[in-house]
């Protein structure tokens, strides 16, 4: 048996038809009962990169209660009453409840930002037939976005809801509404509210998002890529300064690293003087943010570190993490100061100027006028060949630094593939990146474990902590170093297997097909 027909249709009013005029028109043309309108204040939350929205969810705060709702039908999935006024920012700030459990995998390490505050008025209208029977419901929802006491143009959504068995009336009413000029839309309250406010971008992604054409000149394509990366840096600045969550800095730094990598790898599209100058300047930005990122990474590992140790040793790590938390506070202030500094602002505006000013392009540079398809193939093929050559030499006796060097080369190749991905078939690029990622993860884990051991050892030998009172700290940190050492050995053993997969016949043929000119 079929499930009951449940139709909801959403409309927006055309320009020049106000809510009041619309209601008057309805009352004129139909037999209508109007229930007293209900007013509610709501605040919407999501991560900066809209993780809830992309799962078709929305977190709404009304008074002191939080509600996780489905965007498609408004159904409530979880709720939490914040009686203690905790004002949670991350999922872990919520006390143990089903809302917290639901948010954990969704928001992960990202903060839940207040995207918009709105005031919603809902008027319910019933359309009656000659028996005074309701044959259709109309909900007229008016949303007013409240932002910094400024009131922005209200947005009106008209929802029609059918009554089972009165499909004919529903259909007739829909044509009536469409004749009035109302446009079919989605009940997308959150985007309506947020796009009205325009505080944060709607479609943020940290991925490189440029469409290149094969015959584009080298310098043109490079400018597009650099502009995209600069955009990513800029939208993340406020989150670093306000210390909202660690991902702002992470995305910012990835964009900086990609910029530096492109400047060094994609040679001779700009003049050598310009290239050197900006390489130097972006290295300044990288350095100024290094310390904060390192500390973020350590603090993010706190839980997993503690889980590696027996329970009675875990407390021994607290002095270490207390110290790291203090250091981070300082580093965060310094980083914000840097982003507000004249020096940083000049670097950015100078770079922006350079990218926009085509006349500054040096015709003399060898690759400036060459089609980007040629340049990209050449670079990718060269880098790939180098990795294969270097990787084949690695055996059980190879010293660690050579694995680190291979890791760097793989990262460079990954960036190249990402910069130029729009020039090649999407499926092939997906396969190649998938294979490369397995190898990169292996080398990345190897490196992380190495760095972690080094920093623990540094911590144990540093004088300013006063750890000497606590042998439990020494025991915990020492224990951790040996666990990490063992893990590193396991990861290294897996290298050969992962590399062989990357250099197998299938992947080699794919690289040859796409990038080799022979």
């Amino acid at each position: 048996m079929t499930t009951p027909v449940n139709n909801s249709d959403y409309y927006t009013l055309p320009d020049g038809l106000s809510r009041i005029e619309f209601l008057k028109k309805l009352a004129n043309d139909h037999k209508i009962v109007l229930d007293p309108p209900q007013k509610k204040k709501e605040e919407f939350f999501d991560t900066f990169d809209r993780r809830l929205y992309s799962s078709n969810l929305v977190l709404v705060k009304e008074d002191n209660s939080y509600h996780l709702k489905s965007l498609t039908d408004g159904r409530e999935l979880q709720a939490f009453e914040d009686t203690k006024k905790l004002s949670p920012k991350f999922w872990w700030d919520f006390p143990k409840c089903s809302l917290r459990a639901e948010l954990k995998p969704l928001s992960s390490i990202r903060a839940l930002l207040s995207l918009a505050k709105i005031e919603r008025t809902v008027a319910t209208l019933k359309v009656l037939n000659e028996d005074k029977k309701t044959v259709l419901f109309i909900f007229v929802k008016e949303l007013v976005v409240i932002s910094d006491q400024r009131r922005i143009k209200p947005c009106v959504v008209v929802q029609l809801k059918n009554v089972r068995g009165y499909e004919k009336e529903f259909k007739e009413f829909k044509s009536y509404i469409e004749e009035l000029g109302l446009k079919n839309s989605k009940d997308d309250i959150i985007s309506a509210a947020v796009s009205n406010q325009g505080k944060y971008p709607l479609n943020y992604t940290s991925k490189i998002n440029v469409k290149l054409k094969p015959d584009m000149k080298g310098h043109e394509a490079a400018r597009l890529i650099f502009e995209n990366l600069l955009g990513t840096m800029k939208v993340n600045e406020f989150g670093i300064k306000d210390d909202i969550d660690t991902e702002f800095l992470h995305d910012f730094r990835v964009a900086v690293r990609r910029t530096r990598s492109a400047l060094s790898q994609v040679k001779s599209v700009f003049s050598p003087e310009d290239t050197d100058k900006y390489k130097e300047q972006f290295s300044v930005i990288g350095k100024a943010t290094n310390e904060l990122r390192d500390l973020d990474v350590y603090l993010l590992t706190e839980d997993s570190y503690k889980k590696m140790l027996p329970e009675d040793l875990r407390g021994g790590l607290d002095p270490l993490f207390d110290k790291l938390t203090q250091d981070r506070k300082k580093a965060c202030t310094e980083c914000a100061q840097f982003l507000n500094s004249k020096n940083y602002k000049e670097i950015i505006s100078d770079w922006q100027e350079f990218l926009h000013n085509e006349s500054s392009d040096a015709n003399s540079a060898a690759n400036s006028q060459r089609p980007i398809i040629e340049i990209s193939k050449e670079h990718i093929w060269k880098k790939y060949s180098k990795i294969i050559k270097q990787g084949r030499k690695i055996n059980d006796a190879t010293p660690d630094p050579e694995l680190h060097s291979l890791r760097i080369e793989c990262k460079k190749l990954r960036y190249l593939l990402e910069f130029f991905t729009s020039l090649f078939p999407a499926d092939d690029m997906k396969t190649i990146i998938k294979h490369l990622k397995v190898l990169q993860d292996n080398l990345g884990d190897f490196n992380d474990l190495h760095v972690q051991q080094e920093s623990l050892k540094k911590f144990l030998s540093s004088k300013d902590i006063g750890y000497d009172q606590s042998s439990s700290t020494v025991a915990a940190a020492g224990g951790l170093v040996s666990v990490l050492y063992q893990q590193q050995a396991v990861v290294r053993k897996k290298f050969k297997e992962n590399f062989n997969e990357f250099s197998d016949k299938e992947t080699t043929e794919l690289f040859e097909k796409l990038f080799s000119d022979n």
Partner: protein, 246 residues
């Protein structure tokens, strides 16, 4: 899905009022509820201001399936739907009689609605006929309104005997006192007597009130037209009691 029949051999005992108000209260609690109007007089259909489709008739009803699905109508209230009655239901007995499994057809018809609704109410025609037998077989609970007079008492006894004779579980019959006028000595005496005789007697009583009588004018359930009245209160208590049996 719990199937609750509101049944009485006698007419005019407050059967439709109970069916309309109880199904309204069930739906108001958030449970998907269907009221099935089986009485050719169509009083509950009228109370909800609904008219059955022209094409709907007895034959389509006993075929069930998509014929029923197509003819269910939404009421003005959330979670409450109604399967309207048709005057042609007066031939329901004849139509059922022509079927092979003539005593259990209703039970089969309702199987299709199992996952769609939490509660199904049947507003039954008076009398004792083939359609009544179908109701007795289909229902999980049979609610019998009883006006506390000697005549009502006699019909109730007849009903119990009918169940026993036809091997139907009389344990699913529950009665409540309807249209009670507490100042009448006869009402008091009858209620005391029936209560002492045993059987499933519900504690909640529905008083004789004009707001219940006026349902035909307002064409609304009593909890909607007079939400604060003692009749509403009585139906709420009655529904809570029945709900606890489900």
């Amino acid at each position: 899905m719990k199937k609750i029949a509101i049944y009485s051999m006698k007419g005019g005992v407050g059967k439709t009022a109970a069916a309309v108000n109880l199904s309204y209260l069930a739906a108001a609690g958030g449970d998907n509820t269907l009221l099935c109007d089986l009485d050719p007089q169509g009083a509950s259909t009228y109370y909800f201001r609904i008219r059955a489709s022209k094409n709907f008739n007895t034959n389509k009803f006993i075929k069930g399936g998509k014929h029923i699905d197509k003819n269910i109508k939404g009421t003005d209230y959330p979670h409450l739907d109604l399967l309207p009655s048709k005057l042609s239901y007066r031939n329901l007995d004849l139509a059922l009689d022509a079927l092979k499994n003539s005593r259990k057809r209703l039970k089969q018809i309702f199987k299709d609605l199992e996952y769609e609704y939490d509660y199904l109410f049947m507003d039954c025609p008076p009398g004792i006929s083939l359609i009544s037998e179908n109701v007795f077989n289909a229902a999980d609970i049979i609610i019998v309104p009883l006006i506390p007079t000697t005549l009502s008492e006699l019909t109730y006894e007849k009903l119990i005997k009918f169940f026993e004779k036809n091997d139907i579980d009389s344990g699913k019959i529950y009665t409540f006192f309807s249209m009670v006028e507490s100042r009448k000595t006869l009402h008091q005496e009858t209620m005391n007597k029936v209560s002492q005789e045993g059987g499933n007697i519900l504690e909640s009583r529905i008083p004789y009130r004009s707001d219940v009588e006026k349902m035909g004018i307002y064409r609304e359930p009593v909890p909607v037209s007079s939400p604060h009245s003692d009749s509403t209160q009585a139906y709420v208590e009655l529904w809570n009691e029945i709900k606890s049996l489900c």
